[in-house]
Assembly symmetry: C2
Homo-oligomer: 412 residues x 2
């Protein structure tokens, strides 16, 4: 895409009403726009990265048998009363509809997916079943000062698994863990992300969170120095022993929760009477798991941990574009050569942002660093004199002059 056509504006200064690094950088680089506390619009650059994250998640959910559906955000009160959460889920937005009916805005979807699954599950032959959606969720967050990390409206992937017994849930739960680590790897978060024990609930002693180390993280975790399992501060005891390896040395870190998975057991299937007939014809309660990850929070976390003093640094798979082509200088011949290179890259299927604007070389270079696309190509009168272009990786200082005729050999 040509940058002159892009709905984009960068800002030198941080917005006066933001304190988090992710909101400051994503706003300055033209990825997001704040509408109100905890409410953001995604501009073309931000939406491109968000879509890439969502597609990674979709692929990894497909790979573990997930079937994508789309449930509503408007939930009848009756569904939430059935589990007792209409009264005690504090963060639920409640509103009135036609005929004075009460609705909740979807903050999570157990109350919707369970009756939906009940309509289709009757026999052991219908199990296991894995349903997921990628959808906008709403929560009445009192504090909303962390940019995309804690918002009142956010994107969420929620997967729900339905099983005939505990063993089947346990086995799938391990597969889901692996799928989650693949997602973090593809989003460039794996090196700093730890599987973390958190509080469980009535059915299982623990749930698992995925926590990404960050100075700005709101959570505190203790990482076992022997086996790398982390323990959330919430459940830390005085004399901590690692439940995984028995280790007793821990490192305390601040972290951002980037996902959580939960063995629900019969917690939500019971209130809705979600049962199935086993091979012998006996009725049993369906056993459930749930698996959440927030694409908008992932985007915010990447911005939070992957930047330098000049701007954002996108991991390859989630960058809004793969290549940032800049033409420096106003000469007609330079322009023409840059344009030809752009067309050539596009023709080969490359994902290119082309800075063709009539602004100074300095501003182009500064904005390219701020946006943070991994590979930068510069074409100028100087490089063209050698029939070359200059390639630079966002994270390195060195540039490389390469012949335009063989430029594809030098691209990642």
């Amino acid at each position: 895409m040509k940058q002159s056509q892009l709905f984009y504006k960068s800002f030198k200064e941080a917005p006066s009403d933001e304190i988090s690094q992710n909101a400051i950088l994503l706003t300055r680089a033209g990825f997001i726009d704040k509408l109100g506390a905890g409410i953001y619009s995604f501009l073309p650059l931000g939406l491109r990265s968000l879509n890439k994250i969502e597609n990674i998640i979709r692929q990894e959910m497909d790979a573990v048998g997930g079937q994508e559906i789309l449930m509503p955000a408007l939930h009848p009160k009756e569904n939430w009363q059935q589990t007792g959460r209409w009264e005690n889920f504090d963060a639920l937005f409640r509103l009135k509809g036609p005929e004075d009916r009460d609705y909740a805005l979807g903050a999570t979807h157990e109350e919707i997916v369970v009756p939906l699954a009940k309509g289709l599950i009757s026999s052991y032959k219908d199990l296991p079943l894995y349903l997921f959606q990628i959808q906008t969720k709403f929560r009445k967050e009192a504090r909303a000062k962390s940019g995309l990390l804690r918002t009142r409206e956010f994107r969420m992937k929620d997967l729900y698994s339905f099983h005939a017994d505990q063993d089947d849930l346990d086995a799938y739960y391990e597969k889901a863990k692996e799928a989650y680590f693949k997602i973090y790897e593809r989003c460039g978060l794996d090196e700093k992300t730890y599987l973390t024990l958190a509080s469980g609930g009535t059915f299982s002693k623990y749930s698992h969170e995925f926590q990404t180390l960050a100075e700005s993280g709101e959570d505190i975790i203790y990482i076992c120095q022997n086996c790398d399992l982390a323990i959330n501060h919430e459940i830390k005891q005085e004399h901590l022993i690692c439940p995984e390896c028995g280790g007793n040395e821990f490192k305390k870190e601040k972290a951002i929760e980037v996902g959580n998975i939960f063995k629900l057991g019969n917690k939500y299937s019971d209130p809705f009477g979600l049962k199935f007939k086993d091979k012998e014809g006996n009725e049993n309660t369906v056993i459930m798991g749930c698996y959440g990850i927030g694409p908008t929070r992932i985007l915010g976390t990447i911005a939070e941990i992957s930047h330098d003093e000049r701007g954002l640094i996108w991991p390859a798979e989630v960058s809004p574009f793969s290549i940032h082509l800049l033409v420096l200088g106003e000469g007609e011949k330079t322009r023409k050569n840059a344009e030809e290179l752009y067309e050539k890259l596009i023709a080969e299927g490359a994902d290119v942002l082309y800075d063709d604007r009539d602004i100074s070389a300095g501003q182009k270079l500064v904005e390219a660093d701020l946006i943070g696309i991994p590979t930068r190509i510069v074409v100028s009168e100087k490089t063209l004199a050698k029939k070359s272009a200059e390639i630079k990786n966002r994270t390195e200082e060195k540039t490389e002059l390469v012949p335009i005729s063989s430029i594809f050999d030098f691209l990642p």
Copy 2:
């Protein structure tokens, strides 16, 4: 995909609480599930068709220069007060957030996109600009008995165009009309869809709707028998003369509104002070247009007009799958051959639903007609005896026996 793995259940009877054909058929065929009045979940088959419709719309908006963004559904009251619509937009869902703040749920996005654009538009060089999103919208519909045609939560593509002057808006408006007809053509609705004059507002005498003829339509239109322009009943005068061609013969028809486009002029730019500096440095108000189309309503309209007594009939580009492969009979060899054909089709990139379930041939055939995928391939002991498979188009009665070895020659 193998049908044995699909989250899917068909119903012989119409649901007791639905009266519209689209809701009855889409529910019976396992595309949607009703959560409450005017609120539906999209099951895997329904979501596949919905995604195909949304991608068609996205492509046609890209083709007329649209840039995709994603705006929030939670809107601060202040934005809606600015235009006076907080008080007089009846269908607006209103709710309370943290700190007793008032929010509206997005029913349309002029109140959000105008201040957003204001942050980026300052000069004539920033114009024209075309922004669109494909997003979930909410309206407090009193009547919600028409299935996907009138819901309280629905998917919507809304494009907003920003221009320096009226001429530029007028030219783009014509391009948008053409883009809309391309969308209807690809969704199989073009033959029954008419450009229709509707009431305009303060800025322009008329707006334009796109109306698809349907017995169940809630709108009444008068089609000029000379030039095919239609007039919405709302604006019909006693002695109607076609404003396009002067014709005076009209045919009265019932229709479903499947899109509308509107010259907004300065209606929303003025309240937010959306101005730009022209070449001479003078400040002018930005002139706007808006262009709406509802993917979920399109899905409902297709179901409404494209079915027979046996079930749905999907136009090729929006069918959940392109090919429905059925294996009839239990024989191991038959199964093996069908499975091989399935793998072969998948390997060639075909979009196949494979009915591999252990149910009767009769039930498979009935459900295939109910689901309505355009091309059906049957493999049975009988066809395999001739090293063949039987191909049938959903809308034709005749079947064709074709050699499996050259099956690709017979597929659309």
